[in-house]
């Protein structure tokens, strides 16, 4: 056991200390970090506060005062916060509370500073429009709002209220334009409510029906469904597992080939049994894979945290990720070690790697099908078929209608059996292959070795 630990330790250190490995591992999180951290800052910095004049021609005579009120920076900001909160709550239940003013500030940038100027009711619109054409004047003319006469009180015989027209300067940005639209909308609603002697609170409460999260009722119990952003999770978790397995598995293969081609393997075999050697290598690279995953998961959680969406992640998912990663790693790591042990140089490994890579990539190609129908017969069957089972089950667990618990346990059970079989097979091939040099074997040869050993 101590020897296995020594081998694992050497394997781990030799891999992690390699400069190429460190760079390869950190380049992804580095990009994400840049996006998460510097991104919002950069976007803020590039859009300075918009200042300017908005002219209003109010044909009703009742909207302009309201408009002045709802277009103050404080009101704009309050509205924006409310909108964001509503959007978040819909996209990702549970995350709404995590939205803080600071986060909104970071995402949306500073609110525009608008000066409202009322024009007389009878002004000529064509003339007023001139003020939008950019000139060398102290203040920019941003927009001209024309409130129609029937905007607050319906014209006789009409079921709909009238609206407004908006003329904007060519330099006006989309964000500010939508701030103006929102403002006018609210001003109109306020004016209409006042005109009809309606209480805003009452009307809003009347219109509001909150939408609960649906609950799936199964024999095993009840489960809350998840929607929205969580759809991306199966894919992300799949990638994480794939990366972890590839990093560990690939290095296992190359380091085994290196030990074999440098003949150091016979020195090692004089001190440890082939199985101890293989177990040590598997453990060492497992630690490497876990390290890579920990870095990626940690970065992922940090990004979610910085976007105030930490509430999206079910802690159980992280646990499942670790369990399924262990199983998948053992299956593929063992197979790749066996390949490494059976060939004498990297080039020979390619032909054997092909099928293994296919097995690893296939669940990926299938993942949209499984994401769309996580409880279809196909998805259920695939989640019991190694070596795809872990990927498929991971996708189903992260989907919005998770599978019943017995299926998860069955997948884990089958996965462990598959891992045992893969390690057994690899152990046999490893033992025979290590001292074989010359013509690279094919899979039939490997199976013959496994049966002979």
């Amino acid at each position: 056991m101590k020897k296995i630990g020594l081998i694992a330790q050497r394997e781990f250190l030799a891999t992690v200390a390699n400069r190429g490995f460190v760079i390869g591992l950190l380049i992804m999180p580095a990009i994400i970090a840049v996006a998460a951290f510097i991104g919002p800052r950069l976007m803020n910095a590039s859009s300075p506060q918009v200042r300017g004049t908005v002219a209003v021609v109010d044909r009703t005579g009742r909207v302009a005062p309201e408009l002045t009120e709802v277009l103050t920076p404080a009101a704009i900001e309050a509205r924006r916060r409310e909108n964001a909160r509503r959007a978040m709550a819909q996209a990702a239940p549970g995350a709404g509370q995590a939205v803080t003013d600071q986060n909104l500030q970071r995402l949306g940038g500073t609110v525009p500073d608008l000066r409202l100027v009322e024009r007389p009711d009878g002004s000529d619109i064509e003339r007023e429009k001139d003020f939008l054409i950019p000139k060398e004047q102290a203040e920019r003319g941003l927009a001209l709002i024309v409130i129609r006469a029937d905007a607050v009180a319906r014209a006789a015989g009409q079921s709909e209220y009238g609206g407004y027209d908006l003329y904007v300067s060519p330099t006006l940005d989309d964000a500010t334009e939508s701030v103006i639209h929102d403002g006018v909308r609210q001003a109109l609603v306020n004016a209409r409510l006042a005109a009809g002697n309606l209480d805003r609170e009452v009307v809003e409460a009347t219109m509001r029906v909150s939408r609960p999260q649906s609950v799936i009722v199964t024999a095993a119990g009840e489960q809350q469904t998840q929607r929205g952003l969580t759809r991306a999770l199966p894919f992300i978790l799949g990638i994480l597992m794939f990366i972890g397995v590839m990093i560990g598995g690939q290095t296992l293969m190359t380091s085994t080939i290196e030990e074999k081609s440098s003949r150091v393997v016979e020195v090692l075999l004089a001190t440890v049994s082939p199985f101890e050697l293989m177990a040590g290598k598997l453990l060492g690279q497992l630690a490497v894979g876990l390290l890579a995953m920990a870095i990626y998961v940690g970065m992922g959680l940090f990004v979610l945290y910085s976007f105030a969406m930490l509430g999206l992640i079910d802690p159980m998912l992280v646990l499942y990720l670790v369990v399924f990663f262990l199983i998948t790693y053992l299956v593929f790591g063992a197979l790749m070690t066996a390949i490494g042990a059976s060939v004498s140089q990297m080039a020979d490994a390619q032909s054997l790697m092909g099928p293994v890579m296919m097995l690893l990539v296939l669940p990926y190609i299938l993942s949209p099908m499984i994401g769309r129908a996580p409880n279809s017969t196909f998805s259920v069957a695939m989640s019991f078929l190694p070596p795809f089972n872990t990927f498929v089950m991971m996708s189903r667990l992260a989907s919005d209608s998770p599978p019943p618990a017995w299926q998860v346990w069955l997948t884990v059970g089958i996965g462990l059996a598959a891992a045992y079989a893969a390690v057994w097979f690899a152990g046999k091939v490893f033992k025979i292959g290590l001292l074989m040099h010359g013509k690279p074997p094919n899979f039939a040869t490997l199976i013959r070795w496994a049966r002979a050993a």
Binding site: I7, S262, R263, V264, V265, V267, L268, A270, T271
Partner: protein, 326 residues
């Protein structure tokens, strides 16, 4: 006392080739055994089976009293024929790693590594990476790895192949030291001269079969060929008077002088006195038995074609695989 090594009817077949065929072997503790035979005779296969790296198809073996080397690996030192190191590792780290795998505590391991490297004239390479070392240096590093656990049984597969004469001398010294320390030593070689110099006991193997298993001393007596090597003081002197001496069967001229074969039953002491009296000698001596001759005689049974014998002889002198340098 129990044997360090015991093989009974050990057989190993690869495909259609029988690499080792019913081999019996007993190596007592503390002995130095030479395992000799031409390349391809089955020496490496046999050693790998002793090390439990390969497993025999049939037969039994015990190593240091255990039924398998797997149970005694920490007490065995092994230098494989194919040398290998981790190219990126530092020499000191590599040796410490191997030592720890053999159960040597970490602090002892590095102390032993530097002491042994010093003995092999490699005192300054601890911090060097293996890939920066010459081939000869790496061979010595490997040797250190084999003895770093102070093994009870030291198995060396072709320890001198590819080494320069200085390294060979250093290695022989350390092998002798290990023997004095009490280690049982088994080494294989196809170069008979090395075996003659180091071994107390010779096991010859040919095409997987054991053809000889004798102490070196007995071998000398048994295969005393009654040949006298003669070198005249005056290089230009005619050697023909020697043919007329009583008991002289044949004379073969060599570069320095000649070899004189005596007839059966002739007393060599008497003959040497007569020879010296006939032509003033620079050197006259009884030719010692050469393992090479013994081996050739054993495997050819006198009926083998000359060509085959020549090839075998070249191999045993280390010419076939290592060129003319040796």
């Amino acid at each position: 006392m129990e044997s360090a090594l015991r093989l009974r009817g050990v057989t190993k077949t690869f495909g259609t080739t029988r690499a080792v065929d019913h081999l019996d072997l007993d190596v007592p503790r503390g002995a130095t055994y030479g395992f000799i035979g031409p390349s391809g005779a089955g020496k490496t296969t046999c050693i790998r089976m002793i090390m439990s790296i390969l497993f025999p198809d049939s037969g039994e073996l015990s190593v240091l009293g255990r039924s398998s080397a797997l149970e005694a690996k920490d007490r065995i030192g092994y230098l494989p024929e194919e040398r290998g190191v981790y190219r990126k590792m530092r020499v000191g780290d590599f040796l410490t790693y191997i030592a720890q795998l053999k159960g040597v505590p970490e602090q002892d391991a590095s102390a032993r590594a530097s002491r042994l490297l010093g003995q092999l004239a490699l005192g300054d390479v601890l911090r060097k990476r293996c890939e920066d070392m010459s081939k000869g240096m790496l061979q010595r590093v490997q040797f250190v790895a084999a003895i770093i656990n102070e093994p009870e049984l030291l198995i060396l597969d072709e320890p001198f192949s590819g080494l320069d004469p200085v390294s060979v001398r250093l290695l022989k010294q350390i092998i002798a030291d290990e023997h004095r320390r009490g280690a049982t030593i088994l080494f294989s070689t196809h170069v008979m001269a090395h075996a003659e110099e180091l071994c107390q006991h010779i096991v010859m193997i040919h095409q997987g079969r054991k053809v000889l298993d004798e102490p070196m001393a007995g071998l000398r007596r048994q295969y005393d060929t009654r040949v006298i090597r003669f070198e005249p003081l005056d290089a230009a002197a005619s050697l023909s008077p020697l043919r007329l001496l009583p008991g002289v069967e044949a004379i073969d001229t060599t570069d320095e002088g000649c070899t004189i074969r005596l007839s059966e039953g002739r007393d060599p002491a008497d003959a040497m006195r007569l020879i010296a009296a006939t032509i003033a000698p620079a050197r006259v001596e009884l030719a010692r038995v050469r393992l090479e001759d013994v081996f050739i005689r054993l495997v050819t049974d006198g009926g083998r074609a000359d060509e085959a014998e020549k090839a075998l002889r070249a191999n045993l002198q280390g010419l076939a695989t290592e060129g003319m340098a040796v």
